[in-house]
């Protein structure tokens, strides 16, 4: 089972965990990304996430499907937030349930690593003295 979501609303971590828990699965791995208060020593005020919505959802589905093909995992949840986020807020939650923990860890890590490479979502960091699209320039 797969649950994909791209939303402006705050992500509900307890609900994400509850969704993946099931009596067939002994191991659950959850990755939570949060907005850090600094990047390379510069204080971050807030972030803005923009998505190419329909393509982002397709790529997220694709990654979840790949994870389920590569590892024996039963449930994959991948929620990403868009819009303005303050320091400490959560842009991404990934939760994976499997009978055995190795598959849950491997799949969860694969999903966040691949998401950061392929899903069309962009992050702008706002500092005291300017703003920058993350990763845009070499």
């Amino acid at each position: 089972m797969v649950d994909i979501k791209l939303t402006e609303e705050p992500l509900d971590i307890p609900a994400c965990v509850a969704w993946v828990m099931s009596p067939e699965c002994g191991g659950i791995d959850v990755f939570i990304g949060t907005v850090r208060n600094a990047t390379k020593g510069r204080a971050v005020l807030r972030l803005e996430f923009e998505a190419y919505r329909q393509m982002a959802l397709k790529e997220m589905q694709k990654i979840a499907k790949q994870a389920m093909e590569k590892w024996p995992v039963q449930k994959v949840l991948l929620h990403h937030r868009t819009g303005t986020l303050q320091v400490g807020e959560v842009p991404v939650v990934i939760a994976v349930a499997a009978a055995h923990r190795a598959a849950a860890f491997d799949a969860c890590r694969y999903i966040i690593d691949t998401l950061k490479q392929t899903v069309p979502i962009w992050k702008k960091e706002f500092f005291e003295d300017g703003e920058v699209w993350v990763a845009a320039h070499p």
């Binding site: 996430f49 966040i112 998401l115 962009w122 993350v134 990763a135 070499p138």
Partner: protein, 80 residues
């Protein structure tokens, strides 16, 4: 033919718009589109990289474009 190109992230800043029209020869390819765009918006060449998506999927440079395609510029992604 006229291709409508959607822009996201820094590409929107470079174009000064969230979509632009680009004139391409019939059966023009992704590479042709890149050349046209970089000629008109040289700042694109300063990006770490950028991809072209056609109908919600990453396109290869040799892929031919059609007028009704949904085409988008995908600058380096940074979700998560």
């Amino acid at each position: 033919m006229n291709i409508n190109v959607l822009a996201f992230g820094i590409a929107k800043d470079i174009f000064g718009a969230s979509a632009i029209e680009v004139e391409l020869p019939e059966a023009g390819t992704v590479t042709d589109l890149r050349s046209k765009l970089e000629e008109k918006y040289p700042r694109l060449k300063q990006l770490a990289s950028y991809m072209i998506a056609v109908n919600d999927a990453y396109a290869a440079d040799g892929d031919a474009l059609q007028q009704q395609d949904e085409v988008a510029i995908i600058p380096p992604v940074s979700g998560g």
